[in-house]
Each structure stands twice: as structure tokens, then as C-alpha cells.
């Protein structure tokens, strides 16, 4: 049976693991709303669940807009059991969004792309000024 190396990757406002090993994800979203670009997204977390076989692994997470890399995280993980589950948290602060092009999350293991996920950027109208009496 072929095991997918990544079960999911979710964008959220905040994520943590409690002392009893349970995962908490607050504010899971699948699009970004902005009035204008360029804009700065103050904080987000990318939470993913990876299945890794025994051995050393090089894992790369990248957020891109077209060909431009907005943020990148690379880490190595050594697995000593036959198969391990790894929940990965990537916290990103002050992400600069340059255009209305969708953001693309790319996950690579050993340089091989295992996931691409698109996060659309949606333009919202400016809130109206309050009416003067």
C-alpha cells in the first residue's frame, strides 16, 4: 500500500500542542482577504502532518507568489522507526504579500515535491466611512 507522505497542510492564525499531546488550531482559513496590495499578513501558522519512513530526511516548506519566494523553512529530520508521524508547525510573521496572485505552499521532501496548495488572495472593498449627521 502506498502511503502519502503528507496527509494535510492547513493555514491558521495560531497552533500549538497541549501538554497531553493534543493539537489545537485556531482560525483555520483557506483564503486571504485584503483591501489592497502590497499588504503584510501579521501572523500565520502552517500545520502539516507528514509520514516519514526510516532514515534522514530533508524537508522544505516554501510560500511563493508566482516565481517569488515569500517565505521558506528547511529542516532535517531523522527517523529511527520504520514509519513515523511528524506534525510540523511553521510560524510565519510579517508575510509580505506583493500582489493579488494566489500564494502557493510547496512542500518538498528530499527535493521532491509532495504537496502544492493554493491560498487565493481575495480583494475586499474598503469599509465605508461612517455617515456624518
Amino acid at each position: 500500500m502506498q502511503i502519502q507522505p503528507i496527509e494535510y497542510a492547513l493555514f491558521c492564525d495560531y497552533a500549538n500542542v497541549s501538554m497531553d499531546g493534543k493539537l489545537n488550531m485556531s482560525g483555520i482559513f483557506d483564503r486571504i482577504m485584503t483591501e489592497q496590495v502590497p499588504a503584510v499578513h501579521p501572523q500565520m501558522f502552517v500545520v502539516s502532518k507528514l509520514f516519514l519512513p526510516k532514515g534522514k530526511h530533508s524537508i522544505t516548506f516554501t510560500l511563493m507568489q508566482q516565481d517569488k519566494v515569500l517565505a521558506k523553512a528547511q529542516f532535517d529530520k531523522e527517523i529511527e522507526t520504520e514509519l513515523a508521524v511528524h506534525n510540523h508547525f511553521w510560524g510565519i510573521q510579517g508575510l509580505k504579500i506583493e500582489s493579488m496572485e494566489p500564494i502557493e505552499l510547496q512542500v518538498l521532501i528530499e527535493g521532491k515535491q509532495v504537496l502544492v496548495k493554493r491560498l487565493p488572495i481575495v480583494k475586499v472593498e474598503k469599509r465605508g466611512e461612517p455617515k456624518k449627521d
Binding site: 496527509e7 491558521c12 497541549s18 493534543k22 489545537n24 482560525g27
Partner: protein, 134 residues
Amino acid sequence: MKTTIPFVHFCDHASMSTDGKLNLNGIFESLFAMEVPTKHPQMYVLTRLHLGKGEHTFMLTLQQEDKVLAKTSFEIAVTQKTQEQNHLWGVFDLELQSYDPLTLKVYENGDEIDSATLPIYRLPKPFKKPTKEN
């Protein structure tokens, strides 16, 4: 288009905020019990559905072997070409009869389309404090 389920989460609490964002608290992938039968006081099952245009009828069951412990049904009408939909199911006082794994089964129009399993582990009973008489 065939319905797909990108992910399922079991958690202590789940909610949707007014801005449409999803909150999942206490996601777990196994259950622990010192003895059976026992009651799990509260859990939420989040199912993310990727749906095509049309009307969909779903049934979710939580079962141990062939015994259905809880079930829910719902309908979704999709007017766009595709739609991603979160479904939250609150399950209270779930009676676990044995240490057999708990299985979530997802049915669409009576056909099983996906499943997810939660193993149940036996926890050792805590030692009793020695009393003065002992």
C-alpha cells in the same frame, strides 16, 4: 464529480467563528480508557468535504466492529462547480463497549466513500494509596 474527503479530525471541541474561520481544539488520534464499557463525554468530528455541483446526502456513523454507536445525516446542495465544505458533528456521551477501534464511516447516497479509525488503548489503573490499616 466524485466527492472526496481531504481530511477528518477528531477533537474535543470545534467551532466556526463569525468570519468563517474554523477552530479545532484538542485534536486526538487515539482514545484511552481504563475500563470498558465507558463513556466519552464529548467529541467533535470535523469532516472536510470536496463536493461537485448537485445535491448530496450524507450519513456519518461511529461504530465498533458492526455496532453503530452514533450516527448523523445531512444534506448539502452545491450550486457552484465545486465547493469545499466543513461539517462539524458534536458527539456526546459516546458509549464505548470494548477496546475495538472506533471507526468513522462516511456514506454518500448509501455508499461508503471514506473511513477513519481511532484506536482505543487500555490505560493501567492508578495505584491505590496505601491506607494506615495496610
